[in-house]
Amino acid sequence: MFANTTAVAARVLRQLRRDRRFVAISLAMPVLIVYMLSLFFEGVESPIVDPNKFVLPIGAFIVHFITYALCAIVLVRERTGQTLGRMFINGYRQIEIIGGYLIAYSLLSTMQSLIVLVGLEALFQLGYSLGVYAAIYAVIWLLAVLSIALGMFVSNFARNEGQVFPMIPLVIMISVFFSGMILPIDRLPEIIQWMRFITPMYYGTEGIQALIKTGSTLSDALPGIVGLLVYGVVLLVLATATLREED
């Protein structure tokens, strides 16, 4: 099984290596968005808004959004190109295909997460310790990997690119408004407080906000990290189970 997973991962990485424009855009866009974010917060400086509370969750959201949208489209393209069906006939199984994509795109997400974090520190001079940065990086990276699985899961319900596009803003809307990224969860209506658990951004935001509080320790981020891990496992199981091979 592992040999087939690595075969899928190697093939996807080969394709990424060939499509340098795609890789360049995937890495350049987060940088551009972070820069535009800095321009925005220059205009609404403290005391109206404290940028330090928002920029890291927003940075995590940028990685989440790009990774999720890219993976949703890439996998549905495999379906419309019929290569997905041919993989099944050739003996590749659902778990191997999902696993292969996860490994290959994790490498891209690793770079994206790093670029976003470095960009935020350079533009906002957040000044956290190396240990806090390492923990924040772990949270953003976990969120990014989980977003790959989310993209693949969502794409399983679409037969073509046209069907997957409307699903992208739906997930993003839930991520932005139900995660506590903009407003504290306890100030939101009760129904949204329950719905926060369905977006991975909630666990990412929880983890990051716990880490950036003054006097916090790494253990404060554990609930968020555990939440991301559990969410990731559940999502992988769902993505694997719903990956159809029949017409």
């Binding site: 040999a3 087939n4 075969a7 190697a10 093939r11 080969r14 394709q15 060939r18 499509d19 190109g81 019929q82 290569t83 069906g85 041919r86 993989m87 099944f88 006939i89 050739n90 003996g91 590749y92 199984r93 091979e245 029949e246 017409d247």
Partner: protein, 308 residues
């Protein structure tokens, strides 16, 4: 209800000596598949012996592709039973897929990868002892060795077709299913393909292919003529050809008489006996209807029956 297509024991006897497994490669019984109002397979029954090249003939929409997809478990029939290599394509799909190769109608490849990388990827799903060597062999056989490191998007339609075939047989499957494999392939390479198919069946593999090309259909061991999701006729190409009419022109000096007979094997000797081998008979021309005409007439006659 579809026409059952089963072989007599005597037709299997010639091959039985070298076949260890005597069960048919494929047994399909009363297969139905509907896409909304369209009945793609309409009670189709079929039996395909191991170690032969079996051709599926029919117009677009006859159900050939749906049948092939059902055999590999890519389409779930509404009713009926299927056994492929003694396995159920739905319940035992993983065991089955280790033994089959499939070439879809349109080439399904990664255009941004090279020919070599495509073959390697599709082959790596199977336990091939020396995959690098096998990939080289397939590249040579498909005539793509010179272009092995070029991305597929630079290939012509025919080259993609050849590579797609290579991907289907890189792991040397026991059963090869080919959906119009030689479309867009030049005649010389087509000949190479058929020689390779014959080598594979001589080694015990079974090949099922759909085709529109009547000139190649005659290379098959058996043919099933399909229409409306049913098998209209299933026989060897010579037996199907015998269903057509034969025109016989008997030349006597500058004049000739034209006669038409149905079963030339039975009727030709009787016809010629009427001429008592007259020394003035200078030439006899015998012209069989081509397979295409036989198949089209067969389909047309079934349509007439259907309307009645």
């Amino acid at each position: 209800m579809g026409c059952a297509c089963k072989q007599t024991p005597s037709s299997q006897a010639g091959r039985s000596a070298r076949q260890v497994n005597m069960n048919p490669a494929v047994t399909v019984t009363e297969l139905h598949k509907r896409y909304g109002a369209i009945h793609a397979l309409d009670g189709l029954s079929l039996e395909i012996e191991r170690g032969q090249i079996f051709g599926l003939l029919g117009a677009n929409g006859a159900g050939k592709t749906t049948l092939i997809k059902s055999l590999i478990g890519l389409t779930r029939p509404n009713s009926g039973t299927i056994q492929v290599l003694d396995l159920d394509p739905q319940a035992q799909k993983h065991a089955l897929r280790r033994q089959i190769g499939y070439m879809p109608q349109t080439p399904v490849l990664y255009d941004d990868l090279t020919a070599w990388e495509n073959l390697l990827f599709w082959g790596r799903a199977h336990p091939i002892p020396n995959i690098q060597q096998r990939v080289s062999e397939v590249l040579a056989f498909t005539g793509l060795a010179d272009r092995q490191h070029d991305p597929v998007y630079t290939f012509s339609g025919g080259m993609k077709q050849r590579l797609s075939l290579g991907c289907a047989l890189v792991h040397q499957p026991v059963l090869l299913l080919l959906d119009e494999p030689t479309t867009g392939v030049d005649p010389k390479l087509r000949e190479t393909f058929w020689a390779h198919f014959r080598e594979m069946t001589d080694a015990g593999a079974t090949i099922i292919l759909s085709t529109h090309q009547m000139d190649e259909a005659v290379y098959c061991d058996r043919l099933a003529v399909m229409r409306g999701g049913q098998v209209l006729a299933c026989d060897t190409p010579p037996a199907l050809l015998r269903r057509g009419r034969t025109t016989v022109k008997v030349w006597n000096g500058a004049e000739h008489q034209t006669e038409q007979i149905a079963d030339y094997a039975a009727e030709l000797p009787r016809l010629l006996s009427r001429y008592h081998l007259d020394p003035s008979v200078s030439r006899i021309e015998v012209e069989h209807e081509p397979l295409e005409k036989v198949v089209l007439d067969l389909i047309a006659s079934q349509e007439v029956n259907h309307v009645r």
